[in-house]
Amino acid sequence: MAKQRKAVALISGGLDSMLAARAVMEQGIHVEGINFFTGFCVEGHTHAIRRQDQHKQKRNSALWVAEQLDIPLHIVDIVEDYKDVVLNPRHGYGANLNPCLDCKVFMVDRARQWADEHGFDFIVTGEVVGQRPKSQRRETMPLIAAESGADDRLLRPLCARLLPPTLAEREGWVDRQRLYDFSGRSRKPQMALAAEFGFDEYSQPAGGCCFLTDPNYSLKLRDLWDHRPSRDYQLDDIMLLKIGRHLRPKPGFKLIVSREEGENNFLMGYRKQFVHLYCTSHPGPLVLVDGELPAEDEQLAARIVTRFGKSRDAGRADVELVRPGQPPRVLRVDTMSAADLPQSWYL
């Protein structure tokens, strides 16, 4: 009896990886999914936090895909190891701070390691030649296979017929003729294949799952790097970039202002770590201070706080300032007019 061959499929939660996994399952391969948590995943976080987004789906797309495929999904925390990919991408960034090519190499490498540890024969991805300007080009396909160490154990079922045969095809574990030759940015072949497989619901195709592709997020991350001695970051740093308004009135500190109740509740969890302010005379948001707030700028920070609550037109307001480990102090300040708050402070 032939040995049951096993493949680990990178599952992003999008359509392509779902189809790729299913394509090899159709050929009798045992498939398990792997999904990597980088900390930059758009997945559900802001939906979970923001009250106004409570109606939006909070499901984890990768898990949802695993359910549709009825395969186990292994979710791997790579936040620490991923820092080097973000900070020092050998192949550079894309349009924003997205190191897409290095990211793909890294993830395929990690999937290869997982496959080795768990006795899996090959790795499956949903890559399509020519679909992404940075990472999914004909020239990058062999580069990813080589630099990840996966080499010919990496099978891309959706475009396999456009690429040299891999181990799984040469060994007859999968029939190359039953794989596909998709290329380019058109989504029509994938949608047709989804219909053929009976998938009538799937996540928005092609990208959008990483904050590093977002221009505004990238701007805030770059600002963080520019104003710290080191570009190293913690998970909390990159999570907080997803939350609230960010204003930098001085190089040494910035303010994170919650925009609504859900964000306020989320930021409350950081009160023990951060200097924070909130208006006590009028309803208003919780504001965290990221960086060092010098005593001479306390009034400025408190006045900015008044701009974002019911106090904005009150003339005078009381703002409580809390430095962790110290008793709270109330600052009575003139409220800040719109004209006094330069747009250039907004990140």
């Binding site: 948590f37 997945e43 898990l63 695993a66 359910e67 979710i75 791997v76 925390d77």
Partner: protein
């Protein structure tokens, strides 16, 4: 009967509660139980979904008065 292994994933956003559960279960045997504490509303959906694809059994999922979601899982596995 052995006490369940308690996994504290409060204040962690998804998928971290799932990852913490996954890490805990990796060291347990079939029949063992886990009590996962989480606060991310997304965990109400994600944790049972992860259990379904791994064939673990969700014994219950309820939100306490303090907003903590308690999910009890029995290790089964495929």
């Amino acid at each position: 009967m052995a006490e369940p292994t308690v996994v504290d994933a409060r204040r962690l956003l998804c998928p971290m509660p799932v990852i913490r559960l996954q890490q805990a279960i990796a060291g347990l045997a079939p029949g063992d139980e886990v009590e996962l504490l989480s606060t991310d509303p997304g965990s109400r959906r994600d944790v049972p979904a992860w259990c379904r694809v791994h064939r673990h059994e969700v014994l219950g999922c309820e939100e306490r008065g303090d907003g903590v979601i308690v999910t009890r899982v029995r290790v089964v596995g495929r």
